[in-house]
């Protein structure tokens, strides 16, 4: 190595210049890019850096309450705490946080696996969304988690209101329940302006579902309300920035709009009495205002506890409900149909009167059955009722009389009246699911029965057997229509929707489905006969008799199983083979204002196993009515009195309509039966 011409520095001389220039250009490019970012776009990027750390925090709207007719709370919000996990902020999630949560919250292996699976599935922006891992902490769990919160990055304890269904299973089918929104529902575009997030609860049934969200005449309303927001300064981990004393710094708040309250037409006291007085394991008790169609009580048994379904229901509990042979989730009042049995005879009777072939004095001889062709149709009284006139036919529920009617009229005339009274079609019960039932006619039998229609089918249908199937609610509304002079109302559950401050947002008026042709003399014949059923010696519904009010009613004992010649007592039969016990009542008989139906599924006899319940409900109704009119002295009370036909006028300045305080009827009419 020597110095000289070939010294390495020499031959690469120009290259130093090129390399230097290249590097200079490189640094210049960096400087130019910095100039572009910091000087040209600096303003805009600074604004971005400031948005960056303002986080919108949801302020949940309180969900509205569900109240009864008088404002008694049926469903309300109850403070509770849920646990949320935000994957993006959860450090050492799988190794530490989840095992700790599992330990402290007592998760089983399956639950823990589910959370780990969810964690694993979150990608991208989803990792910034808090996901619920536990709802409704117990007091002990809350204390435990709060004490260890610093060991659980990404875990938040969020105060959330949970639903409290005060009466538990009572009215559960009507009120409904709530549960968590599914991922699939979240991705669906929602009509409601209130957005849903993972972990939110949605009404799943009944009022909770129907009133989750609805457009009201005076703006948006619904149980859900509209969430508000507050704006917090947060760091990249999502932790709120705090001042020196540890207070969270926020910007202005957008206040949430709390959900509206839903006021039902149900009277909680009457409901409680109906629940108490109903002895059956399964069945329904319904009371309706016969002049408006507003429901006053609605028992469907067996029921479920919405508190359970809305909270931490375990898969075992769910499958226990699903496996229950009595099917507690089925809403028997409207979503299940049954043979009406003898309660249907009222409808057959109306058809008979309308045909003109039967009058009040038409008499049929009952020899214990009716011969049609080669077959004999048996009356429920094997010895026969002897000569039976129209009124007696209903009073003693003589089958032979109605076989005769059916033989002469055919099925279509009966079906015509049944359909006019709303059978075979949904009643239009607002907000709840129902089934249409079956009102068979010739065309129906020609379609579904092998061999087509025969006269025997009319005979069966005339006494409420055969293919006639009604829901309890349909039957009740039909009786109410006869009682009120021919107006078939649409049954309704909700009186109004109110803002939390009591402003009426939406008001429901009685809705008429149909006004049917019902001659006053026909109505009188039928009502008198129904009064005889309850009040006359030998009537099948004697146990529904009340001292203070005259009750009209009809019993029914619907056969479920085909029985042989031998008639068995209730106790001798398998539960599911026993008869359904029906009773439908109208009171006061002179001008019916309330209609009550009792269905005791597999309960036995209408007269003994359904009528007493109806009697208790009616008794309670009139007791409440008396106490209300005594209490308010005829003045207009806050809540509409039980006997007020129309709901209150929305404008308080409108001339006051006094409630129609009819003098307690019943006493005067006692004993003047035919």
């Amino acid at each position: 190595m020597t110095l000289g011409k070939n010294t390495p520095g020499r031959d690469l001389k120009a290259h130093y210049l090129y390399l230097g220039l290249f590097m200079f250009l490189g640094l210049l490019l960096l400087a130019a890019n910095l100039y572009r970012l910091q000087i040209v776009h600096g303003e805009q990027l600074r604004a971005k850096s400031e948005d960056n750390y303002v986080k919108e925090v949801r302020v949940r709207a309180d969900r509205g309450m569900i109240k009864d007719r008088r404002g008694e709370i049926l469903v309300e919000g109850r403070p509770s705490f849920d646990v949320y996990l935000t994957p993006a902020f959860c450090q050492r999630c799988g190794e530490e946080v989840v095992p700790k949560l599992a330990l402290w919250l007592g998760w089983d292996q399956a639950q823990r696996a589910r959370v780990e699976q969810q964690l694993h599935e979150k990608h991208g922006t989803q990792r910034f969304q808090p996901m619920p891992v536990r709802v409704d902490l117990s007091r002990e769990e809350l204390d435990l988690l709060n004490a260890h919160l610093y060991e659980l990055p990404g875990v938040d304890i969020v105060p959330v209101q949970h639903r409290n269904y005060r009466a538990g299973p009572a009215l559960a089918h009507v009120l409904g329940y709530m549960n968590e929104i599914s991922q699939e529902e979240l991705s669906r575009p929602s009509a409601a302006p209130a957005r849903y997030f993972l972990g939110d609860y949605v009404g799943r049934r009944g009022i909770e579902r129907a009133f989750e969200w609805r457009p009201c005449p005076f703006g948006p309303c619904g149980l859900r309300g509209i969430d508000g927001a507050s704006f917090q300064y947060v760091n990249a981990r999502g932790e709120a920035t705090r001042d020196k004393s540890g207070r969270i710094i926020t910007e202005d708040k957008l206040l949430p709009i709390p959900g509206s309250n839903v006021i039902l037409s149900i009277d909680a006291r009457l409901q409680a009495e109906a629940e108490r007085a109903f002895p059956g394991a399964a069945g329904a008790v319904i009371a309706v205002d016969a002049r408006t169609g507003f429901l006053l009580a609605m028992v469907s048994r067996p029921s479920f506890d919405p508190n359970l379904l809305t909270g931490r229901v375990t898969p075992a509990q769910l499958s226990a409900i699903a496996r229950d042979p009595l099917q507690p989730m089925v809403f028997r009042a409207a979503a299940q149909h049954y043979s009406p049995g003898s309660t249907f005879k009222t409808i057959t009777l109306l058809a008979a009167l309308r045909s003109g072939q039967f009058g009040p004095t038409s008499t049929v001889h009952c020899g214990g059955g009716y011969q049609l062709g080669a077959r004999r149709w048996r009356c429920h009284k094997d010895a026969g009722h002897g000569p039976v006139d129209t009124q007696t036919s209903l009073k003693v529920s003589c089958d032979t009389y109605y076989y005769t009617v059916a033989d002469r009229l055919g099925l279509d005339a009966i079906a015509q009246v049944g359909r006019e009274l709303g059978l075979g079609a949904p009643t239009g019960l607002t907000h709840l699911a129902e089934v249409p039932g079956i009102m068979p006619d010739r065309a129906y039998h020609d379609r579904v029965t092998p061999g087509g229609y025969t006269k025997g089918m009319a005979l069966n249908s005339a006494i409420g057997q055969g293919d006639v199937n009604v829901t309890p609610l349909q039957l009740l509304m039909a009786y109410a229509a006869i009682g009120n002079g021919g107006t078939l109302y649409q049954p309704q559950l909700v009186r109004r929707v109110e803002a939390p401050d009591g402003r009426v947002l939406e008001e429901f008026q009685p809705r008429v489905t149909r006004r049917l042709e019902l001659l006053p003399e026909h109505r009188k014949i039928i009502l008198d006969a129904l009064v005889a059923v309850v009040n006359e010696p030998g009537g099948t519904g004697g146990r529904a008799r009340l001292r203070e009010v005259r009750v009209a009613g009809k019993t029914g004992t619907a056969q479920v199983a085909q029985l042989g010649k031998l008639r068995l007592k209730k106790e001798q039969m398998e539960y599911f083979a026993r008869d359904h016990a029906w009773f439908v009542a109208l009171a006061p008989a002179e001008e019916p204002e309330v209609a009550v139906l009792v269905l005791n599924e597999h309960g036995g006899h209408g007269g003994s196993d359904a009528a007493p319940t109806a009697s208790a409900v009616l008794s309670k109704y009139f007791e409440l009515k008396r106490s209300e009119s005594a209490l308010f002295g005829g003045e207009r009370p806050e809540a509409p009195p039980l006997n007020e036909a129309a709901p209150p006028a929305p404008d308080p300045r409108a001339p006051e309509r006094l409630p129609t305080t009819s003098p307690a009827p019943g006493r005067a009419g006692r004993g003047d039966g035919p």
Binding site: M1, N6, T7, P8, G9, D11, L12, K13, H15, Y16, L19, G20, F22, M23, F24, G26, L27, L29, L30, A31, N33, L34, Y35, L37, Q38, I39, H41, G42, E43, Q44, L45, R46, K48, S49, E50, N52, Y53, H123, G124, T125, R127, F128, V234, N235, A236, R237, T241
Partner: protein, 384 residues
């Protein structure tokens, strides 16, 4: 260490490139100052100060050894580094999906950082030994050996995977090759190579074509690497996912504007929006808190280091010294360019540290050894 020829002579002192040393120490001090803000929760700047001390010591030690000894040791050093990279495949500590660490008690060593030095010494030795005054420029046949010399360690670093360091080693080596004068057709082939890469990127990332896309290379990339390249082309496409770094870093840099938000006042920094803000993204903290002017100052200091290094190379006693000095300059340049380019959104996000600024002992010590090599070459320009 027998025969290391450790000696300082008085006559060497006037040749110490003080501008270079001062600029390097200034950048390192700025780095420590900046770290105190970048890592507010943990006092990382304490450790960084210790690393600087260790680095200066190492630089002094390297400067003291006659570089002719280092020249003799170039091959063993290179081979030892290769061995370390291979060993990493078996004994390495995995962090953030890449095996790039050796853990020796309290010391965590990144062999890739030292490999850079080994590589530049090896290349310098090659170009020194291969010098043929009659054939000054290199054609393909003569470039075969240096190509193997730099492609092997580059490949080993790439599979760690450490795309950033591999890129930097590739670019630095090519720059040194060009510096050593290549034949025109080599330049033409490389230019064609650049075009091919651009074409592949265009086909795999930019071209509008129906799904499933026909891709050439993309399907072989790791998911995060693929995401970073596509994020580089369209940073707004997934702001909370794969492009999070790039976008947040640009916001941080831009929001600094002319004079910055003030030391420890950075919002992006203070609220931890930027991951790796004390290592790979440390420049964003500087840019956010001190603004454009301070960034220019930093670039100027890097410029001083580069120009002084080229000066050292220019006046080096021999070809080995010249190539070592050029090599150090080129590596520092590419690292600065890649890092700041990445932080400001000019280049895709690849893990690479900013020399003297980023937190980390391996990086600090390796750059300081480079500075020591430069001093070494400078002070021995007249020593035979």
């Amino acid at each position: 260490m027998i025969g290391m020829q450790l000696r300082f002579e008085k006559r060497m002192m006037p040749h110490v490139p003080w501008g270079l040393v001062l600029a390097a120490v200034a950048v390192a001090l700025i780095g420590i100052f900046n770290l105190a803000s970048a890592a507010r929760a943990a006092p990382l700047w304490h450790s960084q100060a210790i690393y600087l001390g260790v680095g200066l010591l190492a630089a002094g030690l390297v400067a003291a050894v006659d570089y002719r000894f280092i020249q003799r040791m170039a091959v063993p050093i290179y081979l030892a580094n290769l061995l370390a990279l291979v060993a990493l495949r078996f004994f390495g500590h995995t962090a953030k999906g890449a095996e790039s660490w050796f853990v020796l008690g309290p010391i965590r060593l990144q062999p890739a950082e030292l490999m850079k030095l080994g590589l530049l010494l090896m290349l310098a030795k090659f170009f020194h030994d291969d010098y043929r005054p009659a054939q000054p420029s290199y054609g393909f046949r003569r470039l075969l050996l240096p190509a193997v010399l730099f492609l092997v360690p580059t490949a080993l670093v790439l599979v760690q995977p450490d795309l950033g360091t591999a890129m930097m080693m590739l670019l630095s080596s090519l720059t040194i090759l060009f510096f050593a004068r290549v034949r025109w057709y080599v330049a033409a082939v490389l230019a064609a190579g650049v075009l091919v890469v651009a074409g592949v990127l265009w086909n795999d990332y930019l071209r509008d074509q129906p799904e499933p896309r026909f891709t050439l290379i993309r399907q072989h990339l790791k998911k995060h690497q693929d995401g970073r390249i596509s994020g580089w082309f369209d940073p707004e496409s997934d702001p909370k996912g794969k492009n999070y770094h790039s976008l947040q870093s640009k916001i941080a840099v831009g929001s600094g504007r002319l004079t910055g938000k003030g030391w420890k006042e950075g919002i992006q920094t203070g609220n931890l929006f930027l991951p790796e803000q004390h290592t790979d993204f440390v420049f964003s903290v500087w840019a956010e808190e001190h603004g454009f002017l301070a960034c220019l100052l930093l670039l100027f200091l890097y410029g001083v280091i580069l120009v002084s290094s080229l000066g050292v190379a220019f006046s080096a006693r021999d070809r080995f010294g010249a190539f070592v000095a050029v090599g150090v300059a080129v590596m520092i340049f590419w690292q600065v360019f890649q890092n700041i380019g990445m932080v400001t959104g000019l280049l895709p996000v690849t893990g690479i540290t900013l020399p003297l600024m980023s937190y980390g002992g391996s990086s600090m010590v390796s750059v300081m050894i480079g500075i020591g090599l430069l001093v070494n070459v400078a002070i021995r320009r007249h020593v035979f």
